[in-house]
Amino acid sequence: MSAPPAVLKPSDTLRLGLQTMVHHRLPAVPVVESDERFVGMLPRSRLIALAMPRLLSHEDQTHPLSHLLQVGFIQDTLTELQERIDAVANDPVSQHIDPEVPVLEPDTPLMNAMLFLYRQRNILPVVENGKLLGIVSVWDVLARIGRIT
């Protein structure tokens, strides 16, 4: 576990969240109340989703037939992606927290954390009694298992 390089407050804007993420090269940023209470994670996938046509990021799991298999016909340009982000840039990050992010506790078995990291999560929050203790990132784990100091 390591200390998170950056955290956000729920009232911070999405623009600040985006800047923080890019600046620290973080796959997800923990969101914490002023009393250190852990609220959730703002993942990069959410920011990518906000730049796309809404439908693409709201895939309906009960109806796999409704998923568009090929979206190459949509000719959106960079400007259009930027405009979509501009439109939500002043939203508070609390509106875009991913409730699905798994949370570790100090006594979570090591293998559970490994499995989360294997299944496409790159950064996991460690929470005890509702407070954020730190994060486990894929880099911490790779360094430890590869004896890289």
Partner: protein, 444 residues
């Protein structure tokens, strides 16, 4: 039959016991407290456990012709859509009307109706709605009228053919009507109803819809050719679809039932799609396709067929048919029009599949009163038009309605029961009135 009844538990009256099982089953289906496939299967199990049916009779009650057609068409769609043809069709039609919102509103209704005539309604809306949402977002227009219009169009288009809507699949399968019978008797009036629908939607929403020219230009910039990802599959799927449709048209001469045609087409397309692939790749491919079969619908049908076999064996449907005949004074026209309007109004409120599945044996039981099974033909058209079009009346009237409402809500588009019903119910009444006139003119 007698054998099964002699073992009814506690010596209870089979008629009352079977009726109670059916009413409780339908009641829970309507309340939506339990997934409908679970409750239909439980109802079916009770029919057997209470001794109302033997397992053999229960299995004989399942119409495997209907199940085969449904599963076969689901497999064909699941493979066909991978080539992107449905996205291509929607974008091509939007560009055909220069991406004007009113034009797209009308075009997508027509495309939905035509696709729905050959595919299940739910499948059709699942394929058309996502592209619609991409187009309306690009045009910055309210997507609601488009989705509303597509719900209605899918239910209208589905009525036109044997394979378009589950009630028709049921009627065709159990009565032995062919694809051509449906095309000859229903398609003409459905074309009129579709034209009326497109005009009404234009009057209500289309004529006041505008989009900025630069946004229209953006949709015109959509490249439908990029939606086609697999040209080989497109050719194979088009070939199999053509074979399947020709087989439906020639079914009577070929001596083939629709279940055989649907499953045969599915097997042929599965084979063509997997030829030359490694065994592992084939397994993976086939599992993906089977996973897209709507198992809820299939198990719902299986359970329902057994529940209906139970009440049929107990003599309830014969009794109801006699009562209905007495109420209509045995007049053929009054009976036909009562079936049309009661099916329409009831299908707007309850699922039309259990309703139609119950009505079929009930109408069959009227054959002696009206001079044999062949004379009943117009009554089947009354049932089909009423039940399929009635489903448009409210948001819960047909599965396609709820499916679209679900997708809309998840995409932040409010889809309320009353807002829908206020416009849809009167439109449905107009559509059924058109059918009323058509049926009187042609058959009574």
């Amino acid at each position: 039959m007698v054998e099964a009844h002699s073992s009814v538990i506690f010596g209870l009256d089979p008629l009352w016991l079977a009726t109670t099982v059916m009413i409780v089953t339908y009641g829970i289906i309507i309340s939506e407290k339990l997934n409908r496939s679970i409750i239909a299967l439980l109802g079916a199990m009770l029919m057997i456990m209470f001794g109302l049916l033997t397992q053999e009779q229960a299995v004989a009650g399942i119409d495997f012709n209907t199940i085969g057609l449904l599963v076969g068409m689901m497999i064909i769609v699941s493979i066909t859509r991978k080539c992107g043809i449905f996205e291509y069709l929607a974008i091509w039609s939007a560009k055909l009307v220069k991406a004007s919102p009113a034009g797209i509103l009308a075009m997508l209704a027509v495309v939905t109706a035509v696709v729905s005539a050959f595919l299940d309604n739910v499948t059709t809306v699942l394929l058309v709605v996502p592209v619609t949402l991409v187009i309306t977002e690009a045009l910055k227009v309210n997507p609601y009228p488009f989705l509303f219009s597509q719900i209605i169009a899918s239910n209208i288009g589905g009525t036109a053919t044997l394979i378009g809507d589950p009630p028709n699949i049921l009627i065709g399968g159990q009565v032995g009507l062919t694809f051509n019978d449906f095309v000859i008797h229903l398609t003409p009036v459905i074309i009129v109803v579709l034209i009326v629908h497109v005009l009404s939607i234009h009057l209500i929403w289309g004529r006041s819809m505008v989009a900025a020219p630069d946004l229209c230009a953006k949709v015109m910039g959509f490249d439908e050719k990029k939606a086609i990802t697999d040209h080989r599959l497109l050719k194979l799927a088009s070939f199999v679809l053509a074979v399947v449709i020709v087989a439906f048209v020639l079914a009577r001469y070929l001596g083939l039932d629709s279940g055989t045609i649907g499953m045969g087409g599915a097997a042929l397309l599965l084979m063509l799609d997997n030829l030359g692939k490694s065994p592992e790749h084939q397994s993976e491919n086939v599992v993906k396709v089977y996973n897209e079969i709507e198992w809820i619908t299939i198990f719902f049908f299986i359970g329902l067929f057994i529940v209906i076999a139970g009440v049929e064996h107990a003599g309830l449907l014969k009794l109801l048919a006699d009562k209905l005949l007495a109420a209509t004074g045995g007049d053929f026209m009054v009976t036909g029009m009562s079936i049309l309007w009661s099916s329409a109004v009831l299908s707007a409120i309850v699922d039309n599949i259990p309703f139609v599945a119950t009505m079929i044996p009930l109408i069959k039981a009227m054959a002696p009163a009206f001079g044999g099974a062949d004379a009943l033909m117009p009554l089947w058209w009354c049932l089909s038009l009423g039940a399929c079009l009635g489903g448009n009346g409210t948001l819960i009237g047909a599965s396609a309605n709820l499916t679209v409402a679900g997708i809309a809500e998840r995409n932040g588009i409010p889809f309320r029961f009353m807002t829908y019903t206020k416009i849809a119910f009167p439109l449905m009444l107009i559509h059924v009135a058109i059918c009323h006139v058509y049926l009187l003119w042609r058959y009574f």
